[in-house]
Amino acid sequence: MTGADLVVQTLANLGVKTIFGYPGGAIMPVYDAIHRGDVDHILCRNEQGAALAAVGFARACNDVGVCLATSGPGATNLITGLADAMLDSVPVVAITGQVASPLIGTDAFQEVDVLGLSLSVTKHSFLVEDASELQATLEEAFVLAKSGRPGPVLVDIPKDIQVASLLGGPASAEAEPAELIEEVALEQAVELIRNATQPILYVGGGVGMAGPAAVAELRNFADQAGIPSIVTLKGIGTLEDSRDLHLGMVGMHGTKAANLMVQESDLLIVAGARFDDRVTGKLDTFAPNASVVHFDIDHCEIGKLRHAHVGLLGDLTDGLKRLGEKLAEQSGADLTAWQQRAVTEKTNHQWRYDKPGESIYAPKLLKQLSDQLPEDSVVACDVGQHQMWVAQHMSFTQPYNHLSSGGLGTMGFGLPAAIGAQYSRPNACVVNVTGDGSFMMNVQELGTIRRYGLPVKILLLDNERLGMVRQWQQLFFEGRFSETILSDNPEFVTLASAFGIAGRTITRDDEIEQGLSDLVNSTGSYLLHVRIDAEENVWPLVPPGAANQQMMETAE
């Protein structure tokens, strides 16, 4: 067989059923092999769409997503998607065609040094230099993508290697098992936890990535220890909002209860989180009196931004279980007053949806959508105010159901991520919640929805603005609205209809119910275009350089 056949066969042998990509000169042998091979290829309409679809695929099922592109412009278009996967630790394998080995370094047609380009946006990358290494390299790429802290891995394959004649063998790529957390470290953690009177469980995206068993173990631990909890944007869904002691999202647009309580804590039990600046506000004012017990799989995160009194490096599921067992042996400090405080803060600072007037209040609409969606739905959002409203006002019962570009904040993430998720979770209702700015960033992917008849639902919150930037201009740039007014948007419903996608526009509060019902109950794809107030802001807001308790709640 050829190297190209070997690529496709190895993918199939590794259990890959779906890949997202776009053909071109330097990858044509692989496309020829796809034509006769056993892997479904989904043609996206820009390689960025393919990479982000692979991200959405991976995040919705917690397994590897695969994307494919040609050399040069194909590879450069992938880069944003790889960076997204890098910053959110998503297991993605990207395969790119490269000009033939003898032409590398000659400025050949569509030659870009993709290996060089990949260094800052991948966990690792390979240039296959010898045909005999092709299969082993692909297998290693999968192992690396999903082992330890997951991330994107790129394999650049010169065209001569794709056409070389090769022998393939059975393939395997098991993730390397995580090491067990050291006993002494757990003992030290137990000591700190027993003595804490105001502990907070600070949960990030790493818990979901450690797998459903880790999520279940974390829930057990939270129940057993009775410790009030907060989540990051990526931790949403790991702990259900219905828990009395769960205070919701922390940080720049976090809940008041979470931001107030974390600041007063005397111990942070950090699970798979990394003290991101959007979480901490001004770093040296974050939870200033707290000791830190930090669970992570990546040793670089422990002590990177905040000193950890105890670092718990390794297998989270096992570690949480053992920690729980040790805590059960002997009772710790009385937490009743602190727990009572949590319940009170949570009750006192519930979201309010009673906005007067006829117009549509986006938070209320999202709350209604959340209540209507089936339990195992996936919501992929874009970036901006609508993304924060999704995080604040929709409820998720699993982290795999909330796909939000956290680390990179990639506008244009939502539509391709929703497409990817629809493939890894074919029976789930998948909704892209987007803004009028973000939607246009990867709008070409409507073509992918049309091509494959995907039932992806789109909820477009149209404020005729780059809303999040407009909000900052209003608050921090004295109202100079530089390049953020989009009053010349296209007719979105007409645009969708050009792709055979049904839709409607709603503008009034009394149209919400019917609009959402049309969206959720449509059998095929549907666009619900919602006109909202251009002046609406996301509250609360921890302004730049402030501590988390210094939240702004109005523009005055």
Binding site: L115, G116, L119, S125, L127, E129, H299, G303, K304
Partner: protein, 91 residues
């Protein structure tokens, strides 16, 4: 601002793959360390590469050691010496 920037010499052993040295240098720069000296020795037969780099920064060198040791091709990162030099850092 004058701060006590420590100079540290680090020994790195790695597999000699395409881009190994670029990866190491990128991490050193991006994580906020200034490269002062570097020696590289690669042996063709066993595809290994050994580097000795001296870096300066007011950040703890262990953070760099962690980041370098995370690289897939790297097998060991050892801090071999430290000396304190006043280094002018403009904020």
């Amino acid at each position: 601002m004058i701060s006590q920037a420590q100079q540290h010499t680090i020994s790195i052993e790695a597999q000699d793959r395409p881009a190994t040295v670029e990866r190491l240098l990128r991490v050193i720069r991006h994580r906020g360390y200034r490269l002062c000296r570097m020696a590289v020795e690669s042996s063709q037969e066993d595809e290994r590469i050994a580097l000795s780099v001296t870096v300066a920064s007011d950040k703890p060198v262990v953070l760099l050691q962690n980041q370098l040791s995370k690289l897939v091709d790297v097998s060991s990162v050892e801090i071999t010496s430290a000396e304190t030099n006043p280094l002018r850092i403009s904020a």
